[in-house]
Subunit: 489 residues, 2 copies
Amino acid sequence: MKDRVLKRAVKMGYENIKKNQIEYMKRFWESADVEIEGDAKLQQGIRFNMFHILQSTGKDSKTNIGAKGLTGEGYEGHYFWDTEMYIIPMFIYTKPEVARKLLEYRYNTLDKARERARQMSHEKGALFPWRTINGEECSAYFPASTAQYHINADIAYAIKKYYEATLDEEFLIKYGAEILFETARIFEDLGHYVEGKGFCIDGVTGPDEYTAIVNNNAYTNLMAKDHLSFAAYVAEYIKKNFNDEYQRIKGKIELDEEEIVRWKKAADNMYIPYDEKLKIHPQDDSFLSKKIWDFENTPKENYPLLLHYHPLVIYRHQVCKQADWVLALYLHSDKFTKEQKIRDFEYYEKVTTHDSSLSPCIFSIVACDIGYIDKAYDYFMRTARMDLDDHHGNTKDGIHAANMAGSWLGIVAGFGGFRAFGDEILFSPRIPQNWNRYSFKINYRQRLIKVDVNKEKVTLQLIKGSLIKVKLYDEEVQLEDKIERNLAN
Amino acid sequence: MKDRVLKRAVKMGYENIKKNQIEYMKRFWESADVEIEGDAKLQQGIRFNMFHILQSTGKDSKTNIGAKGLTGEGYEGHYFWDTEMYIIPMFIYTKPEVARKLLEYRYNTLDKARERARQMSHEKGALFPWRTINGEECSAYFPASTAQYHINADIAYAIKKYYEATLDEEFLIKYGAEILFETARIFEDLGHYVEGKGFCIDGVTGPDEYTAIVNNNAYTNLMAKDHLSFAAYVAEYIKKNFNDEYQRIKGKIELDEEEIVRWKKAADNMYIPYDEKLKIHPQDDSFLSKKIWDFENTPKENYPLLLHYHPLVIYRHQVCKQADWVLALYLHSDKFTKEQKIRDFEYYEKVTTHDSSLSPCIFSIVACDIGYIDKAYDYFMRTARMDLDDHHGNTKDGIHAANMAGSWLGIVAGFGGFRAFGDEILFSPRIPQNWNRYSFKINYRQRLIKVDVNKEKVTLQLIKGSLIKVKLYDEEVQLEDKIERNLAN
């Protein structure tokens, strides 16, 4: 394999390879470039990040992207949920064929995930590993790894977003559906009905690794609800429109139609914890009853906490390593009122250390969503040049890939207010004080949309493709060529 | 040291050593023998067990007793809570000077427990290790070890029982008080007040190792309540009666009198979870909301569960490895009505696998307490000859020391119904169908009481010491020589 690549390279010659690379990058920037005027270092940071993501990502459906890209030995080159929650979103809207390959990687390791599910006593279905290269679970400490069953729902979410953005039915039929069904089975098996609550999921860890093995992690339950409901939708859709393929999949995984009914029922009855007194979503059943971490008396040098305190000390306090429910507020921003988001955001902001580099970009996005632009800017600035400036003092171990893609998300989903929920494409751009102008591009259903924002105006331009309906702030817009609106405050 | 012992032995000669040993054992049986008529194998079993406990236990305050005694390499020779909850109770009432030495061992490792407390972020106090030889925590898997903070309260309970049975003030002043105060500090620091509940203790594991890192483990909270309250009592008692010694201890550990106030307050307000609907004590805050283990479809060869299921699978179900709250029902049998004990016992019996050899003897004792004699007998018979008959197929790894002492407890506290709470000494003997007669001896405050039970009668005989008040069934008795009563049904 290595020999073949080398032989081909020698045959092509340096000049041709260089030409191809230049062409490749040119095409990438044409459909993906982000411009920021008014901060040259930031402009450099975001392009540096996008370039690293692009070059570090496996595009052959057999390899994926390590947490450190190709730049260091941190995390032993393992792949995490970082792929589905941070990397894939960037690719879906800039270079969707790469997103597809990353999802095909999950399909190609589905048998290992089936084996893992059996090890975890699930008779059917597939449980993806928390960290892996070849598909086998490579975690040593299960409370902060295998217990993160949300990985299954994260993959389902990425499939849903990819499908919505591309309408790639071939992928859905060939790969996506089988992954969705097999992973949905795990949640159906894992959960159970509790009187007065609904469908409950016990003994899991959410994204926040400072809280482990809890019941009804709100993020996990909401993601599982969406997952189960989408799996049922896809089953019915394929059955109706591609029945032969449906029968093939059904036979292959021995799917019982009753299972689909149970997925829908579990989704409809999913318990999402809510605290009536504080009017916020508790991170899990027991989170709010714990003592709040004594942040005031924690010296700066004791962060990240996991290097200075025994896990038991951390687990018994209200303290979050990273965005957990706040991540759900972003991924499912259409399901909550602004007031609710504000209450939740403010609660979790107080107890979150951002000891994980996956956190600030998410807080930045949600801060934008609720109109906290200055705060969003501060969070965002912790992400964009993290490795260029070695903010965490550990770039020697490799770049922070998820954070790099997160900085793209921070601009596009954060300041740009971009969201896509099927037919609904939303933009709500805001501009930070320090910028004069910024622009980004979104690929969606064969269209290429350029969003250009300056201090006064937002311009949406359809660069490629036919008319498409989008929502700009609260206005429904038929985008055919170019439209211009005043920037919201 | 080894040389010295050998030299002394050679000097004494075989015959003298033999004579001494015979004398030693004769004295032991005089004050400790248990007789069972009607089952010779059982008679052999109980004496075998008591002999093993006696010979395996360190009596120099520097050594203790390994989980496998001196007979095997299982558990690497480590000492556990087995000492305080199973071994010491037998010694308190048969050979109290050994109980004292075992408690002095804890005193001699108190500095290590102080170090451990600092590692676990407690600024003051001492946290005893879950498994150790020299006093350092030797556990590799903290959810089922260090998280078992109840070890502190278990040691306090043993000190209390030893003191009540001996009134050994010298021990209390020299060793006990300091241990009690230092260990109490941990619970006061660990817990916090929650509105509507009281003093809550989060992020611990109770005795049941099939449920890990929970909030408000009922056993832990009840034991901590008793511990804090006894520590405060001892502080006040010593201050009043031995003020010099009190000042010495106070200075040494920098005790603030306000701390004692806080111990009392925490004890008075300790939250003991109770389920109003089932009218039982939930094992912890989340136990009852979990799915019940599917015992019906678990093949026999899958026990013990821990060898066949991933911990996450076990943790997310209602399933107990061993007596947890049921142990509290025995240790604090004076605090609950018979009806309450029946409800609790019946609930936990259904979800307990007894995969730990520490479990059946406790269930046997509580079954006796609630009048389930046949059931008690079945549980008891799993303990008495466990190693002689190799019930668990693992006696090659060494004897089960706690279970051996537990078989003594099964007779004395179980069928004999013996309890001691300070001045209150209780006997409620019952006899299993298969026995014709049994007897045991209790040492309490310089008295030696023999309890003899046959199919019709109970005889209490004061073999040594002056008049003492005891309770036989519901009757207060002044025991001076011998009394006889009819056996209760």
